[in-house]
Symmetry: C2
Subunit: 341 residues, 2 copies
């Protein structure tokens, strides 16, 4: 944003959650122009405090009046809170940037990954949606290849970190791992469909009638909307792995035009926000641990399908940063850059 | 085997390893007719002892003379030991059942999953190979569908347990997890290409020149050999997850003839050695923790590709039991049943 921008009043709804906490850090690290910070949360979490730029901020209850005079309100809370409150932000002339799934598929709400479709913020009417944490790295990597060779289809298996389910997910993994470590009986699953410590759970979020989970359907529909390819054949299985932070995905992609491995690697390396980490001669490929605390999506294991003309790749991203908080802040920066907020 | 079978002299090479230990338990549990057990290992591991049917057996060095009079010799050790010693078993009139990758693709050596191609043991000339721990569940589940609808192609992503790399893999995960738990620096990776605790490593075994790992090429070539489909387009990414025991795979399969989800579920349920665990209405799908200590391959998440006519499924198997020890013992039982050993 330009240095002449006057500072903005910024509110964070869900400031005490896993994404909310990272959002405060990202606002600090990126020197977002904040003149006033309002830390908000549901009634359950209000009353505690969070730190921002060295000062404690008491967490207040997220009520419509808290949005009076706010320029940007980041929602990092439950979908029901976003559904109720994001229109209140818009009504007051602010911009709600929502991390929940509530508004993502609304035709009147832009769904934005700035490196792909930053211009979509021009169409905002007070609410801008941030995609799901698995969608962002998938859409970015697919877009990188589409720009050089077009895109025909993709087959995706995700391996998602427990923090995708917020603090309850992190706490459930930690509690079960402690129990295993100390030989105690495991606490029963609550955040996940089954034990997650020392295990893999091939169920993320609730099942729909078609046998797919909500997480899988999000990945399908959000990817199509961001890429503006409403018929793109992309099919997926989403799984949860005992990793605190860092989502991964194994992707097999078919491009419209032939694409050599070297050209695909170059396309990934050239794409803003992607870093290529791909050197089989040194056993080097991206892992979730490599992305923790970073904003880049790491891509590796680029190779040709041995039975056809498709390309495999493997991508990892920090689900709390680029998969959530960083992307949300980048959306706000995009709004400022375009003089819209 | 028939109750009239005289008992056999059985040797286990690698009796102190992760698979060797389970092999002894499986021989006990299945009441394999053992008149004499010889526990063998490399010079490094010899001298310790193992328990079998309540008795301690001193582990002797695996030398050719140890195979004199042996009917079955199970190899659960390194490939180099199998390469050197399996022919010594054959030369002495015994049958080597080898769990290493050494002989699997040898055209003179049957590669056997009894539920699929038990009759292949008829062609044995003293060595029978047991497939890789990822190949066995994949081949079984593909065969289940092929029998009802033919098989055109498959796309596979595996999530493999650390015990696939034997005791060193188990010890590395445990040591890193203890360090994380206690806030100590993590011991450097040795069994795996990167940190495995709280992480996913998308590299199993060494890379080849084509960008695929040895694990991936095994899965390709072994599946084709077992199914006798040398051109089957099957393509895969193999990953390692921080799970002690239990390999999983996410599979997208194209059958020759249309196959409804209900018919696919029925085909899995009807296949010997597979159990269907697939109830989205109860959030029920197989996990690695569910298969630990069991011999069945669990299958779930059966559903149609939303963009085409392919079917997704998810399978889990105990890599030390059906993926290794149990399959090896079943091969010996098949030999006995057919009066060949």
């Amino acid at each position: 944003m330009s240095s002449s921008s006057p500072d903005r009043v910024v509110a964070v709804v869900g400031a005490t959650g896993a994404v909310g906490e990272v959002l405060l850090r990202v606002l600090e690290q990126r020197s977002f122009p904040v003149s006033e910070l309002r830390a908000l949360a549901s009634e359950r979490s209000a009353g505690s405090s969070v730190r921002f730029r060295g000062e404690e901020h008491r967490v207040e209850v997220a009520r419509p009046e808290a949005f009076d005079g706010a320029d940007f309100v980041f929602f990092a809370a439950t979908g029901s809170l976003s559904k109720e409150l994001a229109p209140e932000v818009a009504r007051r002339g602010g911009i709600a940037i929502d991390k929940s799934s509530t508004w993502r598929l609304d035709p009147n709400v832009p769904l934005v990954v700035p490196e792909i479709n930053g211009a979509a913020v021009e169409k905002q009417r007070g609410i801008i949606a941030c995609p799901n944490c698995t969608t962002i790295p998938l859409a970015m990597t697919l877009e990188a290849l589409r720009r050089v060779a077009g895109l025909r289809s993709a087959v995706v298996t995700t391996l998602q970190a427990v923090s995708g389910a917020g603090l309850p997910g992190l706490e459930e993994l930690a509690a079960q791992q402690s129990a295993l470590h100390e030989g105690r009986p495991l606490p029963a699953p609550s955040a996940f469909a089954a034990q997650i410590a020392a295990n893999v759970v091939p169920v993320c979020d609730a099942f729909g009638d078609n046998g797919y989970t909500a997480e899988e359907m999000k990945l399908l529909h959000e990817t199509r909307k961001i890429l503006e390819m409403p018929q793109l054949p992309v099919t997926m299985t989403c799984t949860r792995v005992p990793v605190p932070v860092g989502h991964s995905a194994s992707v097999l992609v078919e491009t419209e035009r032939p694409l050599e491995v070297a050209a695909a690697r170059a396309a990934f390396a050239a794409f803003e926000g992607i870093e290529l980490v791909d050197d089989p001669s040194r056993d080097l490929a991206p892992t979730p641990a490599d992305v923790v605390g970073r904003d880049e999506i790491l891509v590796g294991r680029v190779r040709r399908d041995l039975s056809g003309d498709r390309l495999w790749y493997w991508e990892c991203g920090d689900n709390l940063r680029k998969g959530a908080a960083t992307n949300a802040v980048q959306i706000a920066e995009e709004v400022l850059r375009r003089g819209l907020g």
